[in-house]
Amino acid sequence: MRTKFLFLFLAIMGLTLTTVSCNNDDNTNAIVDNTPAKVTLTFNGDNIAKISKMTVEFKETNTGIVTVKEVTETPFEVELRKGSYTATANGKVILTTEEELEAAGNATFDLNTDAQNLNIKLMIKAFSEDFIIEEVFFTGVRTTEGKAYNSGKYFKLTNNTNKVLNTGGLLITKSEFTPSLKYDISPEIRQQAFAVNGVLMIPTNIGKDVQPGDFIVIADMAMNHTTPNNPSYDLSKADYEFPNLDNPSLGQVDNPAVPDAKVIYTTMNFNMFFLNNRGLESYAIARFPEGETVETWLANYKYDYEYPNQAGNITQKSVYKIPNEWIIDGVNCAVPATWLHNSLSASIDSGYTASGVIDSDNERFGKTVRRKIIGTMENGKPLYKDTNNSDVDFVKTSPSSFANGIVH
């Protein structure tokens, strides 16, 4: 009996030690240290002879740590800790024609060796003599009872040129891709076009002239949203509206005195054009080129893409695209705490702006993203900053310009 007990005890003890000794066998991963690796940085781009001055921001995806370097000559060596990076370059370049222009570019790379080369392809920034996006209000407000009020959102587009512009044919688009989710999209078309999941159009028959420095407002509902318990804005003087009457649960109403922008494409049910209240999307305004119509665009600019999903399968989707040449202005919006990439080409917007800092930030409600004023036009109207880098062009988490209603 005693011998049996002893053997049983030793068997359990042996089993324990065997389990212990096998436990670390599968740990074959090499651990890297925090010693920085050297990255040799170069740039290239069509017709670009050299860079004049370039600011490059490196963001490590796992830690969120941002490293900013000023580059005036290439190749440029930068020390970075190993990781997975997104690099965004903004600055000036000298063309082969010796002209100096604004340029931007971005690149993603994994840094897991002690030395590595990185080339960033630069794109000349595109500026057009047309409307700019001055302000976007996408967050909505919270009522005094703490409930969400998701109407009263608007786009404010401004004529930042010195000539009269007409609103007829303007397209207001929003991105298919969100800045906080990054997939290996195929085909990747960002440098050629903007993938959209919703497009509003101001039909030419309701177009109107806008004087230099003046603006138009396109609201979801052109009405006074302000009530004693709702600290929203009076948008009754909006120029256009896009109420959704197909989805009765939204409770939206049409203001017959205000012309309606038309939803010409959306992936949402009930033909809705609804702005993400965290700003996890990019917006762009565009115009069809001559000869292009809604019908021909819908017929010819479908964008089918796919990506491997987390389950290891392929997700396939179908949306539409707007070629970058059609875009007259764009702005990437994101939540800084979750930003991973931009939906717009760096030639249109090389940065991003935000309302709020963290995901679902309570501070974002009632706040907008609004372009910075850098001076005054000859007619006394504000002149807005437009460098195609919304990180510096826009005021993040800005008070609305319509605190006292729409005043031109």
Binding site: R2, F5, L6, F9, I12, M13, T16, L17, T19, V20, N23, N24, N29, A30, I31, V32, D33, N34, E60, T61, N62, T63, G64, I65, R81, K82, G83, S84, T108, F109, D110, N112, K147, A148, S180, K182, Y183, D184, P308, N309, Q310, A311, G312, A337, T338, L340, V357, I358, D359, S360, D361, N362
Partner: protein, 507 residues
């Protein structure tokens, strides 16, 4: 399922307890003195080897008790909460089955409500810190925990073999957004043996394994507002990629430990030394139930304690004890890239460490007469705590000393009444601070780091007291009541208080 299982085990242990023979051969005073033996408390590490439990007590005893505890803290680490109310029912039993076989076991159920827990949606911080899922809102945490333990020691000639199996299960939740639900299971198995070197000394070894799992999932009832959830990496840093993407995580830990013991058969001398190796892994869960290992914590612990008691007279004992404890947690972060087809592992980076080193020096005085026991244990302890995040070069480096005294007084009031008083007074003094706390760009996290930093460098004085009264009902059966009050006075004029009331039966 858990509750059904738990109830069964509680009933089983109660049945075992009820079979324990009452101590009709010893007085109430002797029974209580045996159970509250200060030398045994002093040498608790020695009994990590279950074979040594053979000598834990010469007599059989059992307890069932109800406890209520209320804790209020003005100075607290934000992740631990500011207050708790705790209800606990527990039973424990030690049975001398024969001269060569002893059995023991205990079981408990604990219900705790902890208030104002912030930057932490998990439990068992001592195991998983710093890789918790955090949010800035916080709230009250509710915890139900079950604990079961059983073991036996069998003497075979000069060998004694012992084994102990323990299981703890916990369920933790919050009733406001964000709403974490944490389920834990913690299984411990220890096997040990001792060998009688002579009539005076015995040498022993023990080995144990521990498997721990905590599954955490966080939900929101509000559809319009969700707070950011951060997958923390230490000292305010967090995994940027998986934060706000994942609301679930699994923590698994496998630990193995080894203990060496050498002790005298009269328990007046013992030496215990041991080492522990642990490896905790955190896997976050994304939608579609895809899991990604984001962190590993390698734990290493070495400890040693030596105690020597010298009987000066028949009533007076003089002794000393020296302790050494060193714990090191090394954190490895696992980086991923989404520059590939799917999110794939890129590299591993050793990026965090937390270590504590502790030396304790104790003197022991005991006066023991027929109806009175007086025990005093003045001590001095030095504790060095070093926490470092390598990539941000943030360091918390504190060195403290603790000077204090433990007192115990046991008095036989009558054949049916025994009174005991315990007290401990000590002060924590910061003797060096070489910290370089690096703040983040997140105001809320900075407030948390600063609050904790200020507390860690604040000196305090503590007074812990308890009074226990035992009253014999029948032969070998008694009831008792304990009231304990702990008071902490911090240098910044904040105070923490804890009061505990226990009612129990011993038999």
């Amino acid at each position: 399922m858990l509750r059904k299982y738990s109830k069964f085990i509680v009933v089983f242990i109660l049945c075992v307890s009820s079979n324990v023979n009452a101590q009709d051969s010893i007085s109430l005073y002797q029974n209580i003195e045996n159970q509250l033996d200060q030398f045994r408390i002093l040498n608790s590490a020695y009994y990590n080897n279950p074979a040594n439990m053979q000598d834990y007590s010469n007599t059989t005893f059992s307890n069932i008790s109800l406890n209520y505890q209320k804790l209020n803290k003005e100075a607290y680490l934000l992740q631990e909460g500011s207050a708790h109310n705790q209800f606990k029912i527990q039973t424990n039993s030690y049975k001398v089955q024969s001269k060569t076989l002893t059995l023991w076991g205990d079981a408990s159920y604990t219900n705790t409500q902890t208030k104002n827990v912030q930057w932490n949606n998990n439990i068992d911080l001592h195991r998983i810190n710093p890789v918790v899922i955090a949010d800035s809102i916080g709230g009250s945490m509710h915890l139900q925990a079950y604990n079961f333990k059983g073991g036996f020691a069998k003497k075979l000639n000069k060998f004694t073999f012992g084994t102990q199996l323990a299981y703890q299960a916990g369920l933790n939740f919050k009733t406001q957004d964000p709403r974490p639900k944490n389920v834990t299971s913690d299984l411990n198995l220890v096997l040990g043996t001792t060998y009688d070197l002579s009539n005076k000394y015995k040498i022993g070894v023990a080995a144990g394994v521990n498997r721990y799992i905590q599954t955490s999932s966080i939900k929101f009832s509000s559809e319009v507002q969700r707070n950011a959830l951060y997958q923390m990496n230490g000292l305010g840093t967090y995994n940027f990629y998986f934060s706000n993407k994942s609301q679930s995580a699994t923590y698994t830990d496998f630990t193995h430990h080894y203990t060496f013991t050498l002790g005298s058969t009269n328990n007046l001398f013992n030496l215990t030394a041991g080492t522990l190796f642990g490896n905790l892994s955190k896997d976050v869960v994304l939608s579609g139930n895809t899991t990604y290992e984001t962190n590993r914590l390698a734990m290493r612990k070495n400890f040693a304690t030596i105690t020597k008691i010298v009987p000066l007279t028949a009533a007076f004992n003089l002794g000393a004890k020296i302790d050494y404890n060193k714990t090191t947690n090394t954190g490895t972060e696992i980086f991923y890239t989404n520059n590939t087809d799917i999110v794939t592992k890129l590299l591993e980076k050793e990026n965090y460490s937390f270590s504590t080193t502790e030396y304790g020096y104790n003197l022991i005085f005991q006066y023991k007469k027929d109806n009175t026991t007086i025990y005093a244990q003045p001590y001095y302890k030095v504790l060095n705590s070093l926490e470092t995040k390598y990539d941000t070069a943030s360091t918390l480096d504190f060195k403290y000393n603790f000077t204090g005294i433990k007192l115990f007084y046991l008095q036989n009031l009558s054949i049916k009444d025994v009174l005991s008083i315990s007290a401990q007074a000590y002060q924590r003094k910061l003797i060096s601070n070489n910290s370089q706390l690096v703040l983040t760009q997140h105001t809320g996290i900075n407030n948390w780091l600063t609050s904790d930093f200020n507390l860690k460098q604040t000196n305090f004085k503590a007074l812990q007291t308890s009074v226990r009264y035992d009253r014999s009902l029948l032969s070998g059966q008694s009831i008792y009541a304990i009231f304990a009050l702990d008071y902490y006075q911090f240098h910044n004029n904040t105070t923490n208080t804890q009061s505990t009331l226990s009612l129990g039966i011993t038999f």
